[in-house]
Amino acid sequence: MPVKKPESRIGSSVHMKGLKVGAAGKAHRSLQVNLNLTPMIDMFTILVVFLLLVFSASGEILFQQKDIQLPKAFTQRPLERVPIIGISQAVILFEGNFVEDSGKVSEKTLPDLRIPPLSKVLKGAAEAFKRDHPMPSEKERAEKWMEDAKQIIIQADEGVRFEVIRLVMMTAANEGYSAVNFAVVPKGGKAG
């Protein structure tokens, strides 16, 4: 097979006259650059497959906080979007806003077994829920509404004393939040 003299081979779909003109000055050197896109497409495909696998339609429900290390459990039931009480060793938060110092919460300091600032914000949240989502008139939907209205998530650090958890639960129950969901990390998963 005869050896051919190299020449410009820019594809017809690429209108780069300037390159061809430039090449004319140095006739013996081809300016065509072939960008190998195969590794990039491979990488994109792997990324898309991985991200599709970790995709969750419900989105991120809990905002991870550095001072709250969730306990681990084997349970497989996913969380749903309801009001969140965060409890770290130092503070109690409601929807990310400071409510009370955890250190001040004990049965000795709160003989009526209620945390007044938490009680206040929970009452406000319950009223807002009732205002935004009026109770439906049909019996079945009303039952579902009542079930939803009493749900709350407790996102507590694994080292918090049970006494603090108990007083938070009692305060929540007093304001109508009697169905408590404890947030946990699946065993073998990443703690956060």
Binding site: G11, S13, N34, L35, L37, M40, I41, F44, T45, L47, V48, L51, L52, V54, F55, S56, S58, G59, E60, I61, L62, Q64, L70, P71, A73, F74, T75, Q76, R77, P78, L79, E107, K150, I153, A156, D157, E158, G159, V160, R161, F162, E163, I165, R166, M169, A173, S178, A179, V180, N181, F182, A183, V184, V185, P186, G189, K190, G192
Partner: protein, 165 residues
Amino acid sequence: MGGVTEAPSKGGKKSMNVELNLVPFIDLMTVCVTFLLLTAVWTQTNRISIDQSVAKPKPNQPQQEQPKRLTVMVGRDGYSIRWSEDPKAESIPKAGNGKYNADGLKAKLKEWLDAKRFKNDQKVMVAPEDAMPYSEMIGAMDACNQVGLMNIMVADAASVIGEMM
């Protein structure tokens, strides 16, 4: 970019190079990756649920007998479980490494379930001492859930002991 070369045919003069235009494909991939990165959930969280609501008795309802109760106490020395029909409590001490023996608790609950002492819908009272860390309460509740006991309530150990007296 994405060229495909065909074997030369007898016609001869027609170009055999077919170029696949990969630009729309790369655009689509880029949009997909960006969207999925923005909406990705990196930490998975699950829940252990309890319902603390107590059904109020109806005014005309006759006085019912005391419901049977399974109690799991979480103390400094380990777990202790008690079935209301049996006066003797069963204790499950901590393992040799100082950790709570959740496997032992699970095995004992399974044994009692298999012996038909109670059914899966039996209400379980998990009662940790006030000074216990929250993770030990979750450990006890998780052990109950794993053997199929999902109807859990939480109370403090002092009040549960007071009720038993």
